[in-house]
């Protein structure tokens, strides 16, 4: 259902989902007022390079932006940066801005993203302790990444491990601490965890799993070591925290919009208030290929929801929801993930991890639900299609490397 008479759209948050919604609204024919308010100083930019090539200094900052400044002028988009949206008055249909003032809307899109979960340890506020989410974070962290310095990374998720790889390649001494018994425990299977642990160790990263961090010690306000619950003290010049993210849902919650680990939205990205939409990391959405709802933290999700929201606002047909996907670059390993593996009952490995080129398939009730493909684009690309088709696949077919993935996909589709 199209919303009639929309002449004024406000986007709160200026990241990946916002950038996509702005583009899709304009390319979809919306010619009314369009404003975007972001609390960061920069125009919308890509975050993935922040823990990869950009952190290493191999990528100029202006290549991070989705669109150059001139594009926003050209498209008649009012861009308000360095400004937090502090409240929503739904009755009056306006948002309040940090420095006073407000913006009226016919439709509001919340694209507020997420923020790093904060360390709550004693010493967490010492200098030398960093997060990795924004350009400003990299601006603080990267000058400290000097060869020979000791870096302790708390949390072995994708961002922590990517940063570990970069830091090693830059010649730092790196230790990764993980509370769970294995790295990437929250997001993948033991096969993949073991593979990445071995890779990092092979590159000289020290990985300690199953450890509790007790506190950070410092001298003159600067962090000097990390102390574990068992008393082990690890010297540190730099501590990087990578212990997960929290959705920026407070703006919605405080305005009485339904939230539950994310702003709850329907397939069109509409919240419990029909004039308010949400997209990206901040939203909990129906995962149509999985028969449940959830919050995804990925580029693909932000792009897809940006498109869904724009289409719904303009009354255009709903774009087809694709298979969720994600990638991670560590050293010369490209991991491409299709689908969501949570709840798998069987997993099989195609190829030999020792060759650094293999894929782990996850099945539930004999149906493919996800793949982790390491340096294996065919396995990734074929699975993206197989997963949303709901194809039944026998494990022994999937692991038969004598049959190309393309043929396996074609047979399954037939």
């Amino acid at each position: 259902m199209a919303l009639g008479g929309i002449r004024n759209i406000v986007v709160a948050g200026a990241g990946q989902a916002a950038a996509q919604a702005l583009q899709s609204l304009r390319s979809g024919g919306y010619d009314g007022r369009l404003s975007v308010v972001g609390d960061e100083a920069a125009l919308p930019y890509q975050r993935p390079p922040l823990s990869k090539a950009y952190l290493k200094g191999e990528f100029e900052q202006d290549r991070l932006y989705f669109k150059p400044g001139a594009w926003y002028e050209d498209q008649k988009i009012d861009v308000v940066l360095g400004t937090t949206v502090t409240g929503i008055n739904r009755a009056r249909r306006e948002v309040q801005l940090e420095h006073g003032g407000h913006l009226a809307y016919d439709v509001l899109i919340l694209a507020t993203g997420s923020r790093p979960r904060q360390l709550t340890l004693p010493g967490a506020d010492l200098a030398g302790v960093y997060d990795l989410r924004t350009l400003a974070d990299v601006g603080r962290l990267s000058p400290q990444m000097v060869p020979g310095r000791k870096m302790v990374i708390i949390g072995a998720g994708y961002i922590g491990l990517e940063a570990a790889a970069v830091a090693r390649q830059m010649g730092l001494e790196v230790t990764v601490l993980e509370m769970a018994p294995r790295v990437l425990a929250r997001v993948t299977s033991p096969v993949l965890s073991a593979f990445y642990e071995a890779e990092h160790r092979g590159h000289g990263v020290r990985i300690l799993t199953g450890v509790q961090t007790a506190r950070l010690n410092g001298a003159n306000g600067q962090v000097t070591s990390v102390v574990l619950a068992d008393g082990t003290e690890l010297p540190a010049d730099i501590v990087l925290s990578g212990i997960g993210i929290l959705p920026n849902e407070e703006l919605a919650k405080n305005a009485g919009i339904a939230c539950s680990n994310g702003i709850l939205v329907d397939r069109d990205g509409r919240t419990s208030d029909p004039q308010v939409f949400a997209a990206g990391d901040c939203a909990s959405r129906p995962l149509v290929h999985y028969g449940r709802s959830g919050r995804l933290e990925s580029v693909h999700n932000a792009i897809e929801q940006g498109k869904l929201v724009a289409a719904a606002i303009l009354g255009l047909p709903r774009p087809a929801e694709d298979c969720p996907w994600f990638w991670s670059d560590q050293y010369d390993l490209k991991l491409q993930i299709a689908g969501l593996s949570q709840g798998y009952d069987t997993h099989v490995v195609r190829g030999d991890p020792a060759t650094r080129r293999f894929a782990v398939f996850y099945l539930k009730n004999a149906t493919l639900i996800a793949v982790d493909a390491v340096n294996s684009p065919p396995e990734f690309l074929a699975s993206k299609k197989l997963i949303i088709s709901g194809a039944k696949l026998a494990p022994d077919v999937l692991i038969d490397t004598s049959t190309p993935m393309k043929d396996i996909a074609a047979q399954a589709a037939a």
């Binding site: 993935p48 669109k67 150059p68 580029v299 693909h300 990638w327 491409q336 065919p378």
Partner: protein, 106 residues
């Protein structure tokens, strides 16, 4: 610098100035060339920046890496002059390059 002309699948031509060191994908996106999604932003992870390169320039656009080859193998309507535009770096040698964008990336 190089002048690159993007040709939409319907034949519309758009000449643009490209800075050395950028990828052809980035040039396209910055100039709002339709038909290139580039969802992964150039990480060679998404295969949504597929283009057709003028045959005369194929050798100047650089060697295809293994990754790109196997990604292209799954793109729609692949031709011998198919490339992932995020994997082509702009150099002076590309001055005059003509690139055709497909109707869709899916």
């Amino acid at each position: 610098m190089a002048k690159i002309t993007f040709i939409a699948h319907n034949g519309t031509e758009r000449p643009v100035e490209a800075r050395n060191g950028m990828s052809v994908m980035e040039v396209a996106v910055n100039n709002s060339i339709p038909g290139i999604d580039a969802d992964c932003g150039g990480a060679c992870a998404c295969a949504t920046c597929h283009v057709y390169v003028d045959e005369a320039f194929l050798s100047k656009t650089g060697e295809q890496q293994e990754m790109e080859k196997s990604m292209l193998d799954f793109a729609e309507n692949v031709r011998p002059n198919s490339r992932l535009s995020c994997q082509i770096k702009v150099t002076d040698a590309l001055d005059g390059l003509r690139v055709t964008t497909p109707e869709s990336q899916h």
